[in-house]
């Protein structure tokens, strides 16, 4: 029927500096994306992409960002992502880049993908783990996420990712 269709871009912020993720804020990110699209695609791109543009979800611990844009112009937004090379916060510049994990038509599909992705990341973390205390914490998160899957209630397992990320740091 007649409705505005969107595309949701699930991106991960990758950076060497651990302070970079903590300085993520949705308004700062929104301004950064709009400026980058204006630089790369000009006035036309800035106007076309800014209509339905929004930062829908942001997780400072895992660095996951969910962007929304109109379906007709999602490729303009997607192609401008590799040109973001640093995040600026209070005068500090942190070099970083955005890795696009998934493009979905609804928030629900992106959420399902994120849950599976986080489960896989937990297993990878467990595999690469060196410290015993961290290993126990990650094993607890993994079993908890498996239990949640079995019980039929899927909560966003960023909580497990959060704890694992904190344990790593």
């Amino acid at each position: 029927m007649v409705r505005f269709k969107h595309r949701y871009l699930l991106c991960e912020l990758v950076s060497d500096d651990p302070r970079c993720r903590l300085s993520l804020e949705d308004r700062v990110l929104g301004v950064l994306f709009r400026d980058t699209i204006a630089r790369i695609h000009g006035t036309f791109g800035a106007a076309a992409c800014s209509i339905g543009f929004a930062v829908r979800y942001l997780n400072a611990y895992t660095g996951i960002v969910l962007l929304r844009c109109r379906k007709e112009f999602y490729q303009l937004v997607w192609s401008a992502l590799p040109f973001i090379t640093y995040l600026e916060n209070k005068g500090h510049r942190y070099p970083c880049f955005f890795n696009t994990l998934h493009v979905g038509g609804t928030i629900r599909t992106c959420q399902k993908f994120l849950i599976q992705y986080n489960r896989r990341q937990l297993l990878i973390l467990l595999h690469n783990c060196t410290d015993e205390g961290q290993r126990e914490a990650i094993q607890k998160s993994v079993t908890r996420s498996c239990l949640l899957e079995d019980s039929g209630e899927e909560e966003l397992s960023d909580n497990g990712g959060e704890e694992a990320a904190e344990a790593m740091e």
Partner: protein
């Protein structure tokens, strides 16, 4: 005896031509403004950059010929970029603070077509 059937072969080119050629003329509001070829190309690139950003400015654009006296030029652009170039020429308003406008005289996918313009034909 019936005449032998004539053989003929019809060749149809389905692929559109890769480049489009535009004959344009730059008009200034006040006279006495001159640009050399490099400044002209810089003006075109900056018009594209304004409207379409870095991606637009990177379009493969060539100035095939340029006349400094009349400020007219023949441009070549890849066919996918024709709409972008034409719209950015339309929206270009000024050069170094002086008002100007681009007049598009002729557009064709074939360079040879730009040599004869039926609009400039004078009938006796």
């Amino acid at each position: 005896m019936p005449a032998p059937a004539t053989k003929y072969e019809r060749i149809v080119y389905k692929n559109p031509s890769e480049h489009h050629y535009m004959k344009v003329c730059l008009e200034f509001q006040d006279h006495g403004v001159g640009l050399n070829a490099a400044q002209f190309k810089q003006l075109l690139i900056s018009a594209l950059k304004d409207l379409f950003g870095e991606v637009g400015a990177a379009l493969p654009l060539d100035v095939l010929s340029y006349e400094e006296k009349t400020l007219s030029a023949i441009l070549r652009i890849c066919s996918s970029g024709l709409v972008k170039l034409w719209s950015s020429l339309t929206l270009l308003g000024s050069y170094k603070g002086k008002k100007c406008a681009f007049r598009v005289i002729q557009v064709s996918p074939f360079l040879l077509a730009l040599s004869g313009n039926s609009r400039e034909l004078v009938l006796d």
